[in-house]
């Protein structure tokens, strides 16, 4: 494969100069002049309450206040997979931090001042903060009208309960499998909520002009999906999709938090009431913590059986999700895990229940990993324990059971080509798994932890991507696509794909952030699918351009299209060595023929990709049939952990992580994802800890008290490993890797702690404090 010119090469990021010079424009950086209005949101102080009254009379008198809006101004629901949310709270609030009133003023100061004068009277209702309590028969119902909410056909809400969706997967004979197992281990694991903590908070500016068109500038992973939801939600105003335009500048980090639509609908809706103005809403860091999607928490009960030889016979995995007050997106996290919670193992007998439960906490939603980090913590802890109980090395145990190409998944589909076994071997080698280490310091202990992972893109079966590619007079290219470069380097990778087909260097291909008026459809930049899905669309667009070029050359020069190729920004011919026609000579102005007439014209190309083989039509009781996942990306990780036995403080001395990228289109960027994702994963287990008081109010909504890693918290050594077992339907064999890199982090730490100190911690986070207290308890038991 060494004959690629741009694929598999460490091509320099095309957004580099912009981002290191301060030139990059993020949404908050756009100037709107004196007609800009500022919205300030008054958030609910109650976790569950009826809104008895809202008095805005005093607030409206404040100088520079333009208007004040409440739920009754926007009486409609919205949501991506299930319509259960509101622009501003309607009659009830369901979590602390929910948007209740919007004060709009000419200055942010005036809006804040007026907000203090708005009087809201609540009548508290019983609230439920724990998903297991919310499942009880006498639990208060958050959404009594759940059965009336529109949702996608693959969700199964349970009427008159707090269960928004229940994904069941069943395969084989569980009773027989457990009876035949030599060992059966049953336990429960706990994972709390987490926050994305992108450095840029959510921000959107909307303008509804006098001609009736709505433009929204939004920090978003999903410009087309936002346009669709805005147009749907605001259709009662007569707005149609062509009237709604979403412009997405650079995004300061997404991690799933800027997927779908959350707060952006507030300025969009307000703008329609204030024609001619631009209305801006920017979340403070506190609001960012309290009222955007949070990663869902879970309680996972695992029962697993295995034979003496190490073969896993069965898994019963019951997962109860704390999904929050609104689950329009989060329910699909639950769905994805319900299909895949056997992990990357060959297990013949399976029972999975993945249950999405409403609670009076902030809405749960997409977060890098989409539920997989959460269930993999329990699963990979459990697998390690079974291996130890059988006296089988945990790595060997995984070798025995790890899934291979052609094996059957839990829902009956065939496993795609996968380098999982290679990843296990390479990580074990890199970390020197067989070597025993002991700390020279008697106060410290050293342990090693291993984990494997898989993840499939979770998306509707018809999630599609498209690309326009147009040449300029000098032979440079504008590539128009609508995925977002949220930092992963997507634009550079797309330029590399087009460059490879067309023989034009990536530095001569401009990829701009999308504008839905100009750039063609992309579903969303989520699910780690854009390298694969949009990459296919870009490749098709480039091939379309090449076909147009070759057809023109054949028509003018009578050279067979089969003999032509593109190289060094020119057309060349295998059969006529002296034929050389630079692209810049004809891609806009065509080719002049002998009689002075021109043939050809601007080369404008397009490409579309939709995974037409995907289907969600599985049996609701078993999930058998259908093809809900397009493929899985797999990998393995291991680390060496040093623990201070007195303080519990932990330090990662060395970490290795291997991921099967299919084909790493840009190996440096893949390694960047491994390093960054691994630290984000380690943060969820070692540092981050979302705390709520008894009334459901988040106690630490800032970076002083919610600790994300700093430069001092980086593992001493990180070894990124790229495996390349091609994905047959991926561009040049590529599949996505962005989310996966954080998946193994938490169980690696838990497993290393057991290896070092014989303690098994089954709830996240595993902070130094928790380790020290667990060690103290162990001492007391002696």
């Amino acid at each position: 494969m060494s004959d690629y010119k741009y694929i598999g090469k460490p091509v320099v990021r095309i957004d580099g100069k912009e981002k290191v010079s301060g030139a990059a424009i993020f949404t908050d950086d756009i100037d709107f002049g004196a007609n800009l209005l500022h919205a300030h949101i008054i958030c609910s102080t109650e976790a569950h309450a009826l809104i008895k009254s809202i008095d805005t009379s005093e607030a409206l008198k404040v100088k520079d206040v333009v208007n004040i809006f409440t739920g009754k101004d926007f009486p409609f629901k919205f949501g991506l997979y299930m319509k259960d949310r509101y622009v501003l709270a309607q009659e009830k609030v369901r979590f602390v931090g929910e948007q209740v009133v919007a004060v709009v003023a000419r200055t942010p100061q005036a809006a804040r001042k007026a907000a203090k004068l708005v009087k809201i009277e609540y009548e508290p209702l019983p609230a439920v903060f724990n998903q297991l309590d919310a499942m009880k028969d006498d639990a208060v119902l958050l959404h009594p009208d759940l059965d009336k909410y529109p949702h996608v056909p693959w969700f199964f809400p349970q009427e008159k309960t707090n269960i928004a969706h229940w994904r069941k997967t069943r395969k084989g004979d569980m009773e027989k499998a457990f009876a035949e197992a030599d060992i059966v281990l049953e336990d429960t694991y706990y994972v709390p909520r987490y926050a994305h903590c992108a450095l840029e908070t959510h921000v959107a500016i909307a303008k509804y002009d006098y001609s009736g068109r709505l433009t929204v500038w939004s920090s978003s992973q999903s410009p087309h999906t936002q346009r669709n939801l805005f147009a749907e939600a605001l259709s009662s105003l007569g707005l149609t999709h062509k009237d709604v335009r979403v412009i997405a500048p650079h995004v300061g980090g997404g991690f799933g938090g800027k997927a779908g639509v959350t707060m952006e609908i507030i300025p969009a809706a307000i703008a329609t009431k204030l024609p001619g103005y631009a209305v801006k809403l920017r979340w403070s860091r506190e609001q960012e913590f309290m009222n955007t999607y949070q990663r869902l928490g879970l309680v996972a009960k695992i029962k697993m059986g295995a034979k003496k030889d190490g073969t896993i016979t069965a898994i019963d995995h019951k997962i109860y999700w704390d999904a929050g007050a609104y689950v329009e997106y989060g329910a699909n996290v639950v769905n994805a895990v319900g299909l895949s919670a056997i992990g990357p193992y060959r297990i013949p007998n399976v029972s999975i229940d993945s249950i999405c439960i409403y609670t009076n906490l902030p809405p749960g939603g997409p977060y890098r990993g989409f539920g997989y980090s959460e269930f993999i913590f329990g699963l990979e802890s459990h697998v390690n324990r079974i291996a130890n109980k059988l006296n089988i090395d945990p790595v060997d145990f995984r070798r025995i059971n790890a899934i291979k190409e052609g094996d059957t998944t839990a829902y009956g589909a065939e496993m795609n080509p996968s380098g999982l076994h290679q990843a296990i071997d390479e990580v074990a080698k890199a970390i020197e798994w067989d070597k025993n280490r002991e700390s020279k310091d008697p106060k410290k202990a050293i342990g090693k932890g291993f984990a494997i992972f898989w993840k499939a893109p979770a998306m509707p079966p018809n999630a599609s991507s498209s690309a326009f590619l147009k040449f300029n007079e000098d032979g440079s290219i504008n590539l128009l696509i609508s995925g977002m470069d949220i930092g992963q380097g997507y634009q550079t990778v797309m330029a590399q794909i087009a460059a490879e087909v067309l023989g034009v260097p990536p530095s001569k291909i401009r990829v701009e952030n999308p504008d839905t008026d100009r750039n063609p459809y992309e579903w969303q930049t989520v699910a780690s699918h854009v390298t694969w899905g949009c990459g296919n669309a870009v490749k098709k667009a480039a091939i379309d351009a090449r076909d147009q070029i070759f057809a023109l050359i054949e028509r003018v020069y009578h050279l067979s299209q089969d003999s032509l190729y593109l190289e060094d920004e020119a057309v060349k011919c295998h059969t006529k060595k002296d034929f050389y026609l630079p692209l810049k000579d004809f891609v806009i102005n065509g080719i002049m023929t002998e009689d002075g007439t021109f043939k050809g014209g601007p080369i404008n190309a397009r490409g579309v990709f939709m995974p037409e083989f995907s289907s969600t039509k599985g049996d609701p009781e078993t999930s058998q049939g259908g093809h809900p996942n397009v493929h899985y990306t797999v990998g393995a990780g291991a680390l060496i952990l040093e623990i201070d036995k007195e303080t519990g403080k932990m330090r990662v001395l060395k970490a290795a992580e291997a991921i099967d990228a299919g084909k790493a289109i840009n190996p440096d960027l893949v390694k960047g994802q491994i390093t960054g994702g691994l630290l984000q994963g380690l943060a969820t287990v070692l540092y981050e800890d979302m705390r709520f008081d008894k009334g459901g109010k988040m106690l630490n909504p800032n970076f002083s008290d919610y600790k994300i890693p700093t430069s001092m918290d980086v593992p001493d050594e990180i070894i990124p490993i790229i495996i390349e077992v091609p994905q047959p339907d991926g561009p040049y064999g590529a599949r996505g890797i962005g989310e996966h890199t954080m998946l193994p982090a938490a169980p690696m730490i838990a497993n290393a702690l057991e290896d070092a100190l014989g303690i098994r911690i089954k709830s996240m986070p595993i902070t130094a404090e928790k380790v020290a207290l667990t060690l103290l308890d162990k001492e007391k038991e002696k």
Partner: protein, 154 residues
Amino acid sequence: MKEITFILNNEKRSVQVEPSETLLEVLRDKMGLKSPKCGCDRGDCGACVVLLNGKSVRSCLVLAIETAGMEIMTLEGISAKNLNALQEAFIAFNSFQCGYCAPGIIITVTELLTKNPKPDLEEIKEVLSGNLCRCTGYKPIFDAILDVTGKEVK
């Protein structure tokens, strides 16, 4: 409102400010300089770091009115001519992903390298500990700094 004058990116500039306005607000909203970013508005994240009389400060914690007569440098001022070696190294080592933290980090490192052109890894980590980056895992940032100071990158 009070008029203040300062040297901003090597130019003498005057501006009307409210006593309550932060330097970050004035730079972004009144001077049109957008490289300092607001990530937390309470000094935790470092995205708004600028140089004030050559020292790095969190511009969200400085009142603009206090900066009268001082020299202020933002990333725009550093980038005015060509990208410098540090910025080139940030590109070469993919030391940013989303890029939101990059201006604050480059300013912080600029101050470090002025004081100590050959910092070791521990010093680099210490100096950067007030600049949060959620994307890169920091290692690529260390690598760029080590490389630009002539140290071997492992």
